[in-house]
Structure formats: structure tokens, C-alpha cells
Subunit: 153 residues, 2 copies
DNA sequence: TATTGTTATACTCTATAACTATA
DNA sequence: TATAGTTATAGAGTATAACAATA
């Protein structure tokens, strides 16, 4: 007697998908805002913080860096210019292939990215307060399923 | 006899939190990339698409718009300038308070944002293929718990 | 006086195109 | 010739500060 004759909104697969993507989109803005505010506290843009984060455990060539950041090589070059001017990274000429340039954190750059990393702990904890540890694990599992799916052909 | 003497990585609450935030951060970049690619297909930046999306069912004052986008009022003004130059929005003088200006979609702007909205369906479905409907509902529920939490004092 | 919006200015981020040096 | 990187140029996006109009 409570049967429904048409699929309710929450049971319609398209609506389920839409709701999930909407939540992901909203979350993406919230997370970018959070990251941006922390970067700002250290006088960095989110892009600069991302750059330093990549260099934490890598010394990529300019081209590899551009690919990882999804940028044109000239954009990566400019990004590195600005970070270099601030003493956060240096360029190191490649030895095998002398056309290449590798981008490396300076001591100051490393110190800054490690501080910023620590500064992320409080706001990220704040963001997640609504979830207990089991829910956090569940969220991680679901997100990893989406993120770690092998790229489609 | 398989007892561990120290908390394993996956049981340490700090590690659980860290893993969840890392996944959220990575997802945020993936979603922003997806949104940016769709915007690009319509000759829009992600910011312009966001602007049009807000105006879909609102005619906010410049200041309300700035607040919603988390921008300075001068930045919002410039954003609207560029959208107006492309014929996507117009300014309408306020009637009650004649200091205000309301920002309104044009017919062209509305058509564009509706097309872009439709164009989002395919890539967002693609993104979520790894999850079945029950998992999508679960993900939505967890994200909404985080997003809909009342702002802390 | 306070608020709303615009303008002037400056910087970051990004892309395209032309160029240099090396492979 | 092809590839790695830089430079020149242009435009979007953003902020701060000074200003005009209205409240």
C-alpha cells in the first residue's frame, strides 16, 4: 500500500549519479579553498604549493614537471621562474641529456613545504570532524576505487 | 600470535585521517580538471562556468555574487565585465537600493550554461563507473555529512 | 558616515608561437 | 630533423587602494 508507481528520485540511477557528482563537485571547491587558504598563510598560491609538494620527493625535468601539472612547458617554466626568484627552487642542468633542466627544492623550499604540510593537519581534521574513523576509512575506500581505476583505453 | 605490538598504519587514527584527506585532495584536482575540460569545450573558463551556474537560478547583487564566489567585489566586477563583453550576462540597476547592480543571465548565457550542464553528464558518469548505485549513495551520504555540517562558531 | 560598485594598477597563471641549444 | 627549454606576448583571474554615487 506504500508502493510507488514511478521510481522515486533517490532510486532513479541517473539521480543517484547526479547526486554523487554534485557532492564531489561541491567537495572539490571546499577542498581547493582549504588548500588555498593554507598556501596563502605561507605567502604561496595553491599552484606554488602544489609545485613544492611535487618536488618534495622528486627532481623532475621541466617537461616531466609540466606533464605532472598538466601544463604547457612554457607555463611550467614561468612557474619555476617565480619560485626560483623567491629562493624556493633551483634549476640544475641535466648531465646525460644536456638539453634538459631539472628542478630541485632549495633548503628554504623544503622547509616551507614541510611547514605547510604540517599546517594542513588542523584544517583537514576540522573538515572531517563529522566522520568517525570507520566512516573515514569507508570514504577513503570509495574515493580510491574511483581514483585508482586504471585509465580507460 | 599475529597480534601487533604497535598500531598498524591503517589503524592509527591520524593515518586514517591523513589517508581520507589525501584522497579528497586528489579527487578535488580530478574533479576540477573534469569541470575545466567541459568548460573549455564551450570556450569558458571554470570560473566563468561557475558564474553562469550561480546565475542559473539567481539574480544576485554584485556584492552577493562576490561573497558566493569568495571574491573581492572588484574581482567579481571584472569577472562580470568579461562575461558581459561576451554577451552572456547583463547588469541591471537595482530599484530599491539604487547603489546596487544585479547580474542576470542573457538568453545566450542561459542556453550556454544549460548545454554545458548536459555536457557534464557523460564525463561525470565516466568518472563514477567504478562504483555501483549502492556505493554511489554511500559516497554521497558521507560527503553530505562533511559538507552539510553546520559551520563551527 | 557607511555601503555598493567601478576603476587603476600590479601580480600570478596560463597558452601560443618563435627561438636556441642539443640530440 | 626532433626534442627540451626559454622568451615574447596576450589574456584571464585576483587583490589592494582610491574613487563616485547612493543610503
Amino acid at each position: 500500500m506504500l508502493a510507488s508507481v514511478s521510481p522515486s528520485a533517490v532510486d532513479d540511477p541517473a539521480a543517484v549519479e547526479r547526486a554523487a557528482f554534485d557532492a564531489l563537485a561541491e567537495m572539490s571547491f571546499a577542498v581547493q579553498d582549504l588548500l588555498g587558504r593554507v598556501a596563502d598563510r605561507y605567502g604561496l598560491s595553491l599552484t606554488q604549493l602544489r609545485l613544492l609538494g611535487i618536488l618534495r620527493d622528486r627532481e623532475p625535468s621541466m617537461l616531466a614537471l609540466a606533464r605532472r601539472l598538466n601544463l604547457e612547458k612554457s607555463s611550467a617554466s614561468g612557474l619555476v621562474d617565480r619560485a626560483e626568484r623567491r629562493g624556493l627552487v633551483t634549476r640544475r642542468p641535466g648531465v646525460q641529456d644536456r638539453r634538459t633542466v631539472h628542478v630541485v627544492l632549495t633548503a628554504a623550499g623544503r622547509a616551507l613545504v614541510e611547514e605547510a604540510e604540517k599546517a594542513l593537519i588542523v584544517p583537514s581534521a576540522e573538515l572531517l570532524t563529522a566522520l568517525g574513523p570507520p566512516q573515514r576509512r569507508q570514504l577513503t575506500r570509495l574515493l580510491r576505487l574511483v581514483l585508482d581505476r586504471p585509465a580507460p583505453p
